[in-house]
Every structure is written in C-alpha cells, then in structure tokens.
Symmetry: D2
C-alpha cells in the first residue's frame, strides 16, 4: 500500500546553487526530507575523490556534493522522458513510484561510503554496498523517511541500487555504462580539479536518450556525443583517477590501516585508541558506529598517531598528514613475481620493512565494454537507436569506441620510501645501490 | 647577509592545476619548499569559507587552495611590473629580496588560521595574525626554510604580513583594497560556490596596475574594471559571505565553544576531553598544539560530544553535525536592547536557556573606503592614474563607487531554536505565543 | 476568431545550438515558420552591434542570433510563470494567445532593423520601429504566417512591440527595464566580445520573477541579483556600446551617408549608383526595397565607392572599409558652442571640410530610472515584492541602484581626421598648430 | 641584410580582447602594422566557417578573428620555447628573423582566402594559397610592410606558408598535425558555435611541447592531452565542419557559381553583371580585383540576382539568401555510378535540371596520419618524447589515436530540391514516385 506521501510536493520549489548544473531543483517533499537526514548530511564529511586532493588541490568536494548532482541529472532524465508524447508506451508499466525510486536511488546510491573507502575496504574487508543496504533498511532516519512512502519502499530503493529491481529501466538509469552517476561525476570531478577532460555535452545526451523497454538507448544522431562522453570517461581515468601521485597517497593509507590492524592483533596499547575503528578490528561493527566514521574522524586519529610510540605507525601517519609520499617507478607485469621477491629481500637487508615501505600497485580500467553474457561483471552495453528503428550496439557503429572496447588498460607502479633509502645508504651502501639499480631497471622495462 | 638561496630556481618549473588560474606556476625553490612544509600542508584541513558549505555545498575548498591562488596572483603582478621598461624607476630601491618577500607573504598570509577561525577567535580571544607571527618566527619548518634566505628573512616576511615593513609597495600588494588576497578569494569563492557575482576581469586589472612609489595605482582607462571588482566584492559579501544560513551555523559554532568553555570552568568532566583545546581553555597554548588543531580535530570532538551527558553540549553538537540550524528573523537595531531583554526573559520563562539558544547577530561590511587619516582601521584607498599623470582617489571619479564609499552596511538578525519553541508550546503556550509574536514584530520592523 | 494553429505543436521539438543559452528550444509550429521567413532570415545579414567589431573583433554576431536568444529567454520566463500553482490568479485573463504574442514579439521585435541602423536612421530620418510595423502588417511572409493564427494577430503583435497592447504584462516582458530583450543582449554581447561585464545570473532572475498584474516583479530575496544585472548593463554601456573607437567608426558611417545624400541632392552622377538607397534619397522607399537593404549591400557600395571620382566619398569609404578611423579627444560640453565654431573655422582655413572631417559626438545613458509620470520617455521601474506582499521600487531599496538612478551619464568627444591634419601641416603650419593646441586644451578640459 | 625594424617594439603593448585567448598581445611594430593593412582588414569580411552559420547560428566569426588567434598561439609557443634554458641547443641556428617569420606566417597564413573559398575554388579552379603568394609578393600594403624588414622577407614568409622554407621547425609550427592554426580554429570554432567538442587543454599542450630540431615534439607525459586534442579535431569535423545542413548550403553555392559561369559562357546578359567576378569568368583576374571580392560583394550579387530573368539563377540565389536548402539522404558509394545515372535520368523526365538540382556529395576526413614517405599529401606525424629521450610516433603509443590513424572516414549524401519534386508530382506522378523510391532505397543502403 502506498501513502499520499508519494505525490506530496513542496509548497515552493527548493534549489541548491550548484556550479556544475547551475541549480539543483527539489520539488518532492520526500527528497527534501532525505537530504536533511543525518546519514545523508554525513556525506559532507567524506570527499568524493578520496586522496586525489594531494594531486589536484581543487578536488576537495564531498560525496554530498556529488549525490545532489546525480539526483539532479536523474531528475532531468525523467523530466525529458515523461514529457515525450509517447512516453507511456516507451515506458510500459511505469508508475509514479518508479519515478520516486529513480530519484531516491540516485540521491542515495553512495550513502554507504565510508572515509577513503577505496583503501579502507581493501584492508578491512568491508563493502560500501553492504552498508548502503543497512542504512536503507536499518534503524536510520533515511529508513524512516522512506517508510512513509510505503512499508516496502526502503527495500525497493535497495533493490534498485543493488541492480535486482524488477523494472530494469529504473536500474539502468542509475547503473549502466551511461547513467546519472557517471554523467555527474565526470562533469563534477572535472570542474573541481580544473581539468577539462571530463566535459561532454550533458544536455545533448539527455536530448538523444530514449526510454526503450529495459534500458535507455541513444538516438543514432547523438552517437558522436556519446563517443565524446566515453572519451571523457577514459581521459578522466588516466589523467585524474589513476594519477600515480594520488595512488601513492592511497598506498600509504592502506599501509596505515594495515599497521593498525597488525598492532591491534598483536595487542599493542595505543596512546590514542582507535575507538571508532574497534568494531572493524574486532570484526563486528555496529551500524551506529559505522555512521560516526568519516574523514574527520580518520584524520583526527592520524593526527594523534603521529606521536604513537610505534615508529612505523607514527611515521606513516606523519607521511599522510604532511604529504611526504612514496616515490614510484613503472614495472613490467611479467617480471612482477621476480621483482617483488628480489626487492623485498633487499629492503629487509637494508633494514626497511617491505610490508610497509614497498608496494606493487596496478590500476586497471575497462573504458567501455560490449555485452558478454555469462561473464563475471557483465556490463550493459550502450545501444544506438538507428533511423530504421533497429538497435545497434555502440562499438559496432563507432570506430573510436571499438578501439577501446573490451580492452582493459593497466598501469603498473612500484611505490617505495625514497627517503628511507637515502637514509640507509650510509649504513648499507651496497644493498641500497642494488635496490636503486633494480628500480631503474624496472622503470626501463615498464615504459608502455 | 643574503644567501644564494635567493636566486635558486627549480630545475624545471612546477605547476599545480588550478580551476581559477588554470595553472599555478612555481619557479623558485624557496616557494616549493614552503609549500611542502607541514605547517602549510595543514591549511588543506581548514576550509577557506568556514561554515559556508552549509549554504553553498560547493564551498568546500581549503585555505591551501586559496593560498596557492594568492601566490599566483602576486607572481603575475610582479611579472607584469618587472617587465615594464620603466620598472626600476617606478619601483625605486626594489630588490630581488623584495620580490621574494612578496611571494612568501602572499603564500603565507593565512598560515596562522585555525579551524573556523572567525567563530573560534571570538570565543577564545585569540587572533590568527598573532599565530602567523609565531609560525613564521618560531620553531617550525617554515621558519627553517625562510632562514635559508637570511637570518632576518622570517622577520621581514612577518613585517610584510603585519603591514609594518618599510617598503610600502610590498605591503600594499598583499594588504590594500585591491590586493592579491582579495583578487584571488573573490574569483575562487565564486568558482567553488557556483555563483558568478565574484567574477571580474583579473587579467585586465593586472594590465592597468602600475607600481607608483608606495603603492600600486590603476590607469584611468581601467576605472570601469575596478568598479566591476568593487561591485563583485560587494555582491560576494551580501550574497555569500553574510548569507543568513551560514551565519546560523556560525552562531551554533560559537555556542558550542562557549558551552565547552563554561563547562571547563565549572570543572565538568568530559567523556571525551578536548585535549587539543585545553591550552586555549587554560589560557596557555603552545604553538605545537595549535598546529594540530584543524577542522578534522574539531569535527571529531563535535562528533563525539553528541553523546556527552551534558544535554546542551550534546544538542548543540548534534545541530552542527547534522545541520539542524537555528531559524532567524530580522530586527531593527534601534530596538536591540529592549528586544533582547524581553526575549531573554521569555526564553527563560519557557525553560529555554537564552545563553545558548538565542542570539542577536549583526554582520557589517564597508565595501570601499576613502582615506581617513588618523582614524582607526584606516584603509589605503585606490588611486587612479589620470592621463595627465595626476592621481585621483577612486570614489572621486566613480559615481558608483562613491555611492557605497565609506558607508558600512549592516544586516541584523535574531537567531533562535525554532524546534525548541515548538516543543515547549504544549507546556508554556502563553509564553511561546508571546515569543512568536515578538519575533514576528521584530521581523516586520527589521525589513530594510 | 482564432484558428487551430494556436495550439499546433511541432511533431518533434526543434533546437538551435546556442552558445549563450546552450540550446534554443522551439515547440510551436508558428515560431518555426516565422524563423524560416525571408524577412527573419534577413537578420543574419545585419550585425547585432553595428560597428563594434572594429573595436571588439568578436562582435560579429547578427541580429538573427540575438532574436533567437530573446525568444528563448521569453520562452523560459513563460515556462516559469505558467508552472506556478498560482499562475492563473497572478496572470488574470491570460490566454494561450497571450503566450504566443509574447513569443512572437520576442522573436520579431528587431525585425525592422536595417544595416547599421543607429547611424543610418540619423541621416535618413527613418525609424526601425516604423519598419517593424510595416513588416508585420504589410505583404510579407511574416504577415502571412501570423495571419494563420487569426486575422488580427499581426496587428496584435505589432501592438505588443509598440507597447500599446492592452495586456500590459505582455508588453512589459518585452519592453521594460528588465525584459527578455535586455537580458539576452547583455549576456550575448558579453559572450561574443569576450568581456565579462555582461554576466549576471539569468537563471536566478528567472526564478525570482513573478507575474503581478501589469508587470513582472522581483522577489525581495532576489534584489542583489537584479542589482548585479543593472550594474552589468551599466558596464556594458561604458565598456562596450559607447567605446570611443566604435563611435569613431559610427561617425565615419554617418559622414558617408551624409555625403551620399548631399551628392544626390547636387545631382552628382555615381559611377556605382546606390540603387537600393534611392528610395531613401528620394524620400519614398518601398518595403520591398527596404528588405533588400542589409550590411552586405551597404558594404558592397562602400567597396565600390572607394573608386568614385568624388574625393570625399572615396576617402570616407576607404576609411570605413580599411579601418582608418578618426582620432578623438574629450571636451567639456560647456564649451561646445565656442569650440565647434572655432574648430570649424580653423578646419576651413586649413583646407579640410569640417562637415565631413570633424564631429562633436556625445553619447549618453541613463542606466536605470524610477517612475516619472508624464515625462517624455517615461520608463517602467523595477519593483520588488517585499516579504509582506507590498511592492517597493528598486532604487528605494538598493543604495547602489539609487546611486545611478535617474542620472544620465554622458561622454563627450571630438572626432577628427588626424592624418589630414598631418598632411596639411606643411602648407598651413600656423593653422594646424592652432588646431592641435585647441584639441589639446579641449582634452584637458574634458577629463571627467 | 636585415633592417632595425626586426627588433622594433611598440612603445606600449597593444591588446585585443579575445573570447578564446582572453587577450591577444602585440609587442612588435611589424605585427601591428600588418594588422592595419587593408589586405588583412579585408579578412573581417570573410567568415571563418563559410556557410556553417546556416546550421550553427553562432558561427558568424571572420577569418580576421581566427588569424589574430593563430598569431597569439604562435606567440605563446615561441615564448615558451625561448624561455627554456636549453632553447638555443634545442633550436639550433634559430634567429630573431625566424621568430618574426613564425609570427608573420601565423598571422597571414589565411590572407589569400576569398569569400566561401571552399566552394568558390571548386568552380573557378583557383587556389587561395596561390593568392596568398601574390598578396605577400605583389603590390600590396602587406608586401610594403614586410619589405621593411628586408628585401627578401616577404619571400621568406611565403616560403614558410608554402612549407618550403629551409628551417623546418618554423614550417612545422604553422603546418603540421598539431600546429598553431589547428589549435586556434578548434577552440575558436567550438566557442562561436557553442559546441564543446573542440575544447582541449591548450595551456597544457604548450607546456609539453618541445622544440626538437626540425619539429616540435610532445613530452610523453602529455600524451593524453594530445589524444584529447586529436579527438577534439575528429569530433569537430563530424559534428560541425561536415554537418549535412552546412554542406547543403555549400552545394547551392557551387550551383550558383556554376550557373553564373555557364550563363557567362553562353553570353547571357545579366541585369546586374558580376563585375568583380569577371576576371574569374574570363580566366584572367587581377590581384586588385581579387582583393575587392569578399562575402558582402558575393551576397550583394546574390541579393540582386534573385530578380534575374534566368529562372535557375534567380531561384538558386533565393534559396541561398533565404535558406531554402536542399534536402538530403545518405547513399552507398558502391552504387554511386548506377544511382547518379538513374536519378539524373529521372530528374530530366520530371523536368528538373539535375545539373543544378541534384548533387552527390562526399566529405572525407583523415583525422590523424602517421608518416607515409613518398605518398601524396604526406603529413608530418606527431612524435612523443619518451622519458629515455627517444622519439615515438603518437599512434604507436596511443590505442585511441591508432584506432583512427590513417583511416579516412567519408560521409556520402545525395542533395536535391525536395520542393521541386513536390511541385512536379502533379504533372509527373509516376516519375516523382520513382525518384522518391530511389532516394528511400539509397538512404537505406547508405546507413553506416
């Protein structure tokens, strides 16, 4: 059963001034109430691009910022779709509830993210999607607001985000290779970092999108606009998201979390105990505690731990806080095994703990993929609506997209504490010389 | 005596991608080393616009971001000045050291800022300029880097920032009514908030600026560009900096600090003691501790204090963290005294502590001022260089500037916890009715 | 009687890519048909800013360009207005015909403009508003298209543009101190010239506009956005529209037209007769001929006339075509009479015809005006809608607007052919010396 | 022998406000004098994008506009190059004359263009490069100005533009796959049309360009910026330059020129004779006449010819002036021969002259090419400077560039006068039905 909340509009439209979309418009009371929950406000304290700010000083914007943007893109998509004369036949069975599901899922799709989640999740074996589920369904303000629509509405929002909802069109608008999420983050991250790779003609794409049963398709005449969008995404990955300096900060982050975990398991007594992390360390964390974890909390700990008596933890925190990052060289993945064994050995001989001061890091991206049924991580391809009404998969029509289609690109780097090497040079000149030579050789072999 | 550091250039120019100035260019090793000090990196953890992000979600940029921008504007000013054929006569006695002083002062002018300093300083009676002095002259990495130029170089940088340096031109480029600081923050804050009021033609202004003995003047032909800059500043103050919603968050911030101070003085035992604030509370804070204070630290405390047993502190922190702000109405300053006595009385009668839940707040700005010798806070006016070589004070030539010149504008608001009023309505219907009536009357009388 | 045309929509929305508004959207078949008439297409051959391109090389955009923009702004205003829940009470008696009238008037308000009309009209004593009327009501494609709505529809469109239409709200949206026309041209001219003075927040202004009986008012909370718009207008006038170099080209234009007229009256036989101007010269021009006049026609004549045997005409055309402009100095209007007599005399003595090579030119602007009933050229002031529902005239609420309100500013310049003076210097050294001295004195007395 | 002119600087820098580069800066008197010649001013009367304005109403900018932009890009390239510590070894034998040659060639490279040259040259078998040579070397103001540098300087400028100059670095900066010309037009055409495909990070590319003997190379770290530039170019070709509506206007233009030529050859007596075209028609055109040809001249003729008694000429001119364009369908090039024979036959049967009302038009672009020595139109590829100092051809390093490298893409369209078909339908229903069917079939076979 569905309450009257479904159609309750605000007395007066609310707007947020937004640098990317000029204004974000809110008409539904439901959306307004969701924005004002403490779980959504918490996203203000989590940066959208994690550690990218160490490379691009402008990248200080939060997930709150982005989430509003995804909502706005979704709102505009639906406005376009539902103003089409043929919309009801193009979107069979579409209901007012579906509209709200789209908007809520767009707004809330990132609500489970924790601080620096990329690095955090690797060490603590947790998953922001699982937390999103808990926030939507657990005892939260968000759940209460969603409940007012209907008892199973929170559950449906979760299904949309988890891609299991029955109306596939709803799912595809938030999770596909051309969805509201991606369209917002490319534009937004480009704006805040100041690069212009992420620019594409959002308005044009919205105009050539058409609902078509289970997903949105693109009118053939808009193919070049989509090519441009795919290229933007490709460039943003290589120019911004995978920037090697950012990955250096990520490596240090992971090392810190690893050290904390190791120390905790060894029964180390922290001068400043990581109270809000204890749930993770002990393997049983409550939702309430998770929601108090944000970047200010983590940075507070790092700040304090600079004075821990454990030298490695103190040093790593000092590196992160004061941006003393690891240096890097490329390497050839075919020699990964040999190189890592060799360098670990040498680092130990030089008295540097390779567990914390050496890392082989590979970042990989698949800019666009066609449909591969049955394969893991299968991705919904983008379809063009041809003049004759047929559909055609994008990479079949575009040379450029075809050239990057289905081909993952990977960048391989070795990260290490250059300053420690310098320091040890006096005591272990021969070992350090070998290390430096090995790194130089790796770099040479690693050039793409 | 001046070391060779003075002229040491980087082997290769370093750049930062910047959304406002496209790129920030660094050529001097001195500047590069300053940026990499921990005291400067700390500015990444302090937002440029304090609580403005509660109103403009884009306003999440840091003082680090702005400081690089001021440096870049200064670099361009000097590049222009020193490329003029007549520069050595226009800038008599100018030395390479003066150039570096300008750049360092531009980069470091905000280095003493603490978290939410506007509110913080009001409660704890401290002053970021004093801290800047300590950071420049105390035992810091910044001091060490500056010392390499010469023993008294840190002192000189401090003099420039404190406006006491003997070369008045150097001082005026960083502190006047048209200086590198203002020019950067107007553009930058406009960019991040997404408003376009702060836009003016920086490049044009740089082209019409001329060094002229003790300050920079503006060629008469550039008068309209300067008018536009003054108007930008005016608009940014009223549209962004003094936005009543932002001031509501500021009021709550001050109330929290006040509550912490009151509790500390009463000997209250905090479940989570504000260790990094203790120096302030006890009236003797060390530089080392001050430097660990940043927004993540403050937000961590607020996060934790939501569960303090002191109900007022817990409630105020919950308000700040979860953006449950105070409501506001305007009021007429002539009735300030009467109104505040009346409302305080009524709040007490309704069982709401006016010390923490009621505030009369007035924000005032003087958009431009001509020269008033001898008066407190005297400000260097902007001079136009007329075609005949004479100087003319800007407000003498521009109607528009004259219209706002020397006239402070003030906005008066009463902030209060609307939700508490609602809650108390059942128990004290008559009192709350009176309060509401008084607020409505105030609002009516307060319309400008 | 009104035909079904009124509500006929295009099968599919048409769009024009527009740099200022991103896209111009056309939904009504009526608008689409009007755009495709030859009279409207003719606007492609008339520049929006006349001779401004000699100063700002980017200012090459046409009236076609601007007219589409005005239409789009109007479309957005109406979209906002008519989506308000209260719109039918706020716009009493509003009909679908009124909506179309607004759109047509916006699109067609400049359709009567001829080439370089500012200068052209001064010499030939004609008026683009009169031509607009003839185009709307005469035997034109535009008239035919408009007739399809109803027999008196062309007449009504004319009334709207002529400000005599009974629904004053309709009139005010296209002709007031904050109308669709101005809002487009400020943004557009700023974009094409590359200056940023013309920028203001159009979207914000559209959001705070409210229909209010006979005109649109501005919500009080949007006052600063309107201030910013007024200042933009002010700056554009002084920085762009009245640029002294542009006015120099205008002076030459007028001199050419004047020479043609004088020669015609003297019975001079043109090698290349100005066939399309003959109607004007003979004082009886047909609509059909007027519609063939555009900038390419005029420039063709100027091109050819560079070789006319009449030396003055040939020289003036060469100046215009090859941008050999007149120089200028300022002057004090109180000495206008004396100076002009003196200089005319001296020019004649030096053998330079002052009728064609000397001009006193004053440009004047009234940036904003309050209401002055009964006065000539009375202008509808801008009203703010105060929180209590009262209206308040803008200059009563805004210091800045007040400072420029009702005060016309004028710039006075003397234009003259500097190169002729140089040439005559050898023959008439004393006279030319006197002229130069007089000009220097004028300049000195003229500095504002 | 080289005169002192070489190093003569302006007393004060001159600037042009430019929307794309903010400002164009002129320091050399030589450049200033060239801009003020009548041959260069003539470029104001020739649009940069020919007929593109019929599709993108913003595309009204002139070649003057673009030429200043190319000059400015070149100025910045040289500024960067010559500020490098190693510049003199990287640019062996470089002289001040080379710098001026670069600037002059950049400014003047398009000076030979006539009105709508793309279409014009096809019909009249002329070539703007040939005219450039004549303008540089003939009796022109430009030649006089260039002569002041040295007697053979005009000749050298011509060699640079003709790509035969001995210093290959100079040539490559103005004519290669990444040169000042392309970099300006992509940005500029994107700006004026309002599309954002043409955007790329010019400043970044300038920073990663390095002089390297005979050409400029790109530092490997800048590869993605160059990929982005190549993609921009690709998109601009398909989205803007080859837009089928623009090509329709081009087809009509060519048909008009063809009709004029045919009529001239038949001895037709024009009511308005194309005096300025007579040279072309007679096969012997003087430079002086060529320089009077511009778009206003051509448009004047078209305007007048709407009333010629020759029905075809009058109709075609009316189409061009009033934007009554030809419709189009795609076709498969393999059936070109068959289709064209068939349609020509049918058009004749329907009484429509296929010579003027039917056209098979194919536009082709090769977005990037590697080096193919010996082949016609060989193009200098872009080289990356690898970290080890080696050079690597771009398509060897970039998947994306490789995907479009060396592959020309072609778009095939049939243009025809749809309205004539409709008109003839009554008289020749069967023939017109066959034509329509043939066009429908062509369209189906032609979908890429």
């Amino acid at each position: 059963m569905v309450s009257h909340r479904l159609t309750q509009k605000l007395d007066e439209e609310k707007v947020f001034k937004d640098p990317v979309h000029r204004y974000v418009h809110v008409y539904d009371k439901l959306i307004w109430d969701l924005i004002n929950t403490s779980e959504f406000q918490r996203l203000r304290r989590i940066r959208q691009l994690g550690t990218s700010y160490v490379t691009f000083h402008g990248a200080e914007h939060s997930r709150f910022n982005h989430s509003l943007g995804v909502y706005e893109v979704m709102r505009r998509i639906l406005e376009k779709f539902m103003s089409r004369p043929a919309w009801s036949t193009e979107m069979p069975g579409w209901s007012e509830e579906d509209r709200l599901l789209c908007l809520c899922a767009a707004l809330l799709h990132d609500v489970g993210h924790g601080p620096f989640s990329h690095s955090f999740e690797k060490v603590f074996d947790t998953d922001h999607e699982e937390w999103t589920r808990k926030i939507l369904l657990g005892e939260t303000q968000i759940n209460q607001v969603l409940q007012q629509v209907s008892a199973d509405f929170p559950h449906k929002v979760n299904e949309v985000i988890a891609k299991t909802y029955e109306n596939k069109l709803v799912v595809s608008l938030i999770s596909s290779q051309i969805d509201a999420d991606r369209m917002d983050y490319l534009l937004r991250d480009a704006y805040y970092t100041g690069v212009n790779y992420g620019n594409f003609d959002l308005e044009r794409i919205l105009r050539v999108m058409r609902p078509h049963e289970e997903y949105a398709v693109i009118k053939y005449s808009g193919m070049h606009a989509v090519e441009d969008y795919i290229m933007s995404r490709y460039q943003m990955y290589w120019q911004v998201y995978f920037h090697p300096v950012t990955r250096s900060a990520d490596v240090i982050l992971r090392k810190i979390f690893k050290r904390v975990k190791d120390l905790y398991e060894q029964g180390y007594r922290f001068a400043c105990p990581p109270r809000l992390l204890e749930g993770f360390l002990a393997g049983k964390i409550e939702l309430k505690d998770y929601l108090r974890l944000d970047e200010s909390t983590i940075l507070y700990y790092f700040q304090m731990w600079q004075e821990e008596k454990d030298g490695i933890l103190a040093d790593l925190c000092d590196r992160f806080i004061n941006r003393r990052l690891f240096k890097y060289v490329g390497f050839n993945p075919s020699s990964h095994m040999r190189l890592s064994l060799e360098l670990e050995q040498l680092f130990k001989q030089a008295g540097i703990d390779p567990d914390y001061y050496l890392e082989f890091e590979s970042s990989s991206d698949l800019p666009y993929d066609y449909y591969r049924p049955g394969e893991e991580g299968e991705r919904l391809p983008i379809h063009l609506l041809m003049p004759d009404g047929e559909l055609r998969e994008l990479s079949q029509a575009s040379h450029i997209v075809q050239s990057i289609s289905g081909k993952a690109q990977t960048d391989h780097k070795i990260y290490f504490a250059q300053d420690l090497l310098e320091k040890k040079e006096k005591t272990y000149p021969a070992v350090v010389a070998k290390i430096k030579q090995a790194l130089r050789d790796a770099e040479k072999s690693g050039v793409r």
